[in-house]
Amino acid sequence: MARLELSQVKRKISPRFMVEDVSFVVDAGALTVLLGPSGCGKSSTLRMIAGLDKIDAGKIQMGERTVSAEGIHVSPGERNVSMVFQNLALWPHMRAVKQLRFVLKGAGLARKDRETRIARYLDMVGLSDRRRSYPHQLSGGELQRLALARALVVEPSLVLLDEPLSAADRSLRGRLQKEIRSIQKQLEIPMVYVTHDQEEALALADRIVVMQGGRVEQIGTPRDVYERPKNRFVATFLGSNNVLQGTKREGDFFDTVLGPVVCPAGDNGLTSGLLSLRPEALSVHEDGVECVVEASTYQGGRWLTTVSREGQYFMVFSAVAPDAGSRIRLQAVGEGFLLQGDEDGPGT
């Protein structure tokens, strides 16, 4: 499939919640992650792409074909997509091999070709020796691999994954992420992957679509959205960015409550605005401004310390854990990034 394009997609989910004005493009061969907190509308968006739910307005195109629009609804079976569900939805009464055979049987393959293909995909996810097992006989990781194989075996032009790893533990999740990523690259198959886990999103995505409250907040590469969040929501949802008010002094320098911060804003005429500053951009320095230590949490090799100054809270990394209540001096050593679109945001 060439590409998937959503334009101003809208759907009323419940009396109090709707997905609205969702537009983004998934390029051929790319893995796009829909990222956002629970209930932000990312799974609903995925279901609309799948064709499981209709859309109220807007348009979804796959290549040249419009699959969803007002008065148009191509059924899921005719979209040439497949999906991995959050609960995996593996059929409890079918052996592993049967799960694949069942979805493949309508594909019009000769029996031999079909079995070869099933074997190939089971092998790809490392389940060749578990082909005769029922779901209840498989481990968590095997279940997830099987669900993936079932989605891939029909060789769809787009794979949709709805938080497939949410039940896996951290190390298993890391392993499976790598596998998914490598399979995706190997097959060059576009995927849309829904998650609420920012680390997962950063690890997997070619592009990230950040959603909140039924709307798209930002679209970009992992680096884009991580380092240059557009607004306070993205900044705080991805990593523990500090958000602070800044006033332009001169050039790229902004004055903030934590002293001067370099912010490559360009010559856009802004005089003040919200800045986001990553914790690692702050450092303990004797020339810095004095802050009160509130608490520290160990992060493996370093401490993430929360400090306060003038009623605002900030995060900073430190090599040792300072005592709560003590005072430390902080200075911005890295660059900040000017946020857009917030109500208390950029002024001119």
Partner: protein, 539 residues
């Protein structure tokens, strides 16, 4: 895995104890009595009544009739259930709330109304007679076919009920996982109905057992089945041990599907998925919408409309109802109230016991849980006569038993004995699908054992419980065979009254009383509707 607290074990054991005492002991008593004749242990009773060539014929005919009734129920019931739960059929909610009415009408009365429909007064009977070139009466001309059809018409709602329940609680993502590459038809067969199989099989099992032990219907259409053997053994030889012994093959036959169903559900392959609150996925019917609507409508007209319509026609004006409640100056109203009261009490107790047993089974290891399930189905296999005599022999003795036997409590116990397995199944299945984590969450929060059960697990299985209650209530309302034997002097239930009138051709009164019984059974549903504005779909 065992995740049960002490209070679950203890309350569950108390419930099991009550179940043994109320439901199992009477039939067990009768069964063991068959080995004892003149204080000697032996198989005399069996030698006398079993293994005659004739009985093999009867057993064979019984199996044919019961299986045909099951096959018909599945043939019509499963598509009906699917269409009313899973499709965009117009009026499906309405259809889904009236199909079970034949269950309220005692089977004998279903034949009664069809007998009147096929009489000379209407064109259907004579037309059929002409078609089959019959000289004699239509009824009795095709005994086994007629018995199968009438038993199907009496019990098919059980298949629909359990299939609908299975379909409507199925997680839609099982289907959605297939819609991308699998046709709706294959999906329906391979996933939807396949996963609903335990429910379908349970429904079929219930129909099978009911069809097996019914003798009123076969007797009326002159089909010789094994249940008549037991009936006549009771009715003519008055040797109750021999009669019980003669019932044993019937019980064994009934155990086959119960065992099969245990095996089916015992395997984790069919372990029912956790309860989902997502609505079932609706499959558009497209061009099949009209044919499907036609199928459902015609089916309901034949199964519900015609018998009920016939009863309405026979009952005639309002005076029949007034007269029926007051035949020759004697009121049937107290009988109706008795029926309502005892059936409701039995349903309540059944649900309570079922809930505590069910939670114990749900939280126990597979072997324990399987045994509880199997035992709970056991009393179901015994004919009403055996249950009734068992109750008399067990409870009719001086002392504390006397209080029970001479009061209406014995009737309630009798209803429980016959129909509680229903409640146990429905409630138990529902509880098994409640994730123990929900309750554990409450436990961690320090919520007491009972508030936990009632506030969380029981609450979540509420739909199964209300369904169980209604079924036991409905079946209790129509019970006859056991009530006849244990109903305390001075207390009469509605079916007893109806049957005492049948013989005397008070067709209008019989029909009117029957309709009153139907109305009474519908009462809880109507009240629910009035109180909440919601239609209670029996799922």
């Amino acid at each position: 895995m065992s995740r049960r607290s002490k209070s679950v074990v203890i309350s569950g054991s108390v419930a099991m104890g009550a179940f043994f005492l109320i439901c199992l002991l009477p039939v067990a008593y009768m069964f063991f009595a068959t080995f004892e004749s003149d204080s000697e242990i032996g198989f005399d009773a069996y030698k006398k009544v079993l293994f005659q060539a004739r009985q093999w014929t009867l057993l064979w005919q019984t199996a044919v009739v019961a299986l045909s009734a099951v096959a018909l129920s599945l043939l019509f019931g499963v598509p009906f259930a699917y269409l009313t739960v899973k499709s965009d059929l117009p009026l499906r909610r309405f259809f889904g709330s009236i199909y079970f009415i034949p269950l309220i009408v005692p089977p004998y009365m279903i034949v009664f109304s069809w007998d009147r429909i096929l009489s000379e007064r209407f064109p259907l009977g004579p037309w059929l007679k002409e078609m089959f070139e019959l000289k004699g009466a239509l009824i009795g001309a095709f005994p086994l076919t007629a018995a199968s059809i009438f038993l199907f018409l009496s019990y098919f709602p059980l298949v629909i009920l359990l299939t609908r329940s299975a379909l409507s609680t199925q997680d839609p993502s099982f289907e959605e996982a297939g819609v991308f590459s699998v046709s709706e038809k294959r999906l329906r067969r391979g996933v939807t109905l396949r996963l609903a199989l335990p429910g379908i099989v349970t429904g079929a099992t219930f129909v099978f057992i009911f069809a097996l032990s019914n003798y009123g219907v076969p007797n009326m259409v002159q089909a010789n089945v094994y249940a008549l053997e037991v009936f006549y053994q009771f009715k003519t030889a008055y040797d109750q041990d021999a009669a019980t012994a003669s019932a044993v093959p019937l019980v064994l036959l009934a155990l086959i599907p119960i065992l099969f169903q245990r095996i089916l559900e015992g395997g984790r392959r069919y372990s029912s998925p956790r309860i989902t609150n997502r609505e079932p996925r609706i499959v558009p019917l497209g061009r099949w919408r009209i044919p499907a609507l036609l199928f459902v409508t015609v089916f309901l007209i034949v199964t519900v409309g015609i018998p009920i319509g016939m009863l309405l026609w026979l009952a005639g004006g309002i005076s029949s109802y007034r007269g029926a409640l007051d035949v020759e100056g004697l009121g049937a109203l107290p009988d109706l109230l008795s029926s309502l009261k005892y059936a409701a009490a039995a349903a309540t107790v059944a649900v309570i016991i079922g809930a505590f047993m069910g939670i114990l089974a749900a939280r126990s290891r597979k072997l324990v849980s399987g045994s509880i399930d199997f035992l709970s189905m056991l009393p179901f296999a015994f004919p009403a006569g055996v249950v009734g005599i068992g109750l008399i022999r067990l409870w009719n003795r001086p002392g504390i038993f006397d209080v029970v036997y001479t009061s209406s409590a014995i009737l309630i116990i009798g209803f429980l004995c016959r129909f509680a397995p229903f409640a146990f199944r429905a409630v138990g299945a529902g509880l098994k699908r409640v994730d123990p984590a929900f309750e554990e969450a409450a436990e961690v929060a320090g919520v007491g054992a009972f508030r936990r059960l009632f506030g969380v697990s029981f609450r979540m299985a509420l739909s199964g419980m209300s369904c169980a209650w209604i079924i036991v209530f409905i079946l209790g309302l129509g019970e006859l065979g056991m009530s006849r034997l244990v109903s305390p002097p001075g207390i009469q239930t509605m079916p007893l009254r109806i049957f005492s009138l049948i013989h005397w051709q008070y067709d209008n009164y019989v029909a009117a009383l029957c309709l009153l019984l139907v109305g009474a059974a519908l009462l809880p549903l109507v009240l629910f509707y009035l109180a909440t504005g919601k239609k209670l779909e029996i799922r």
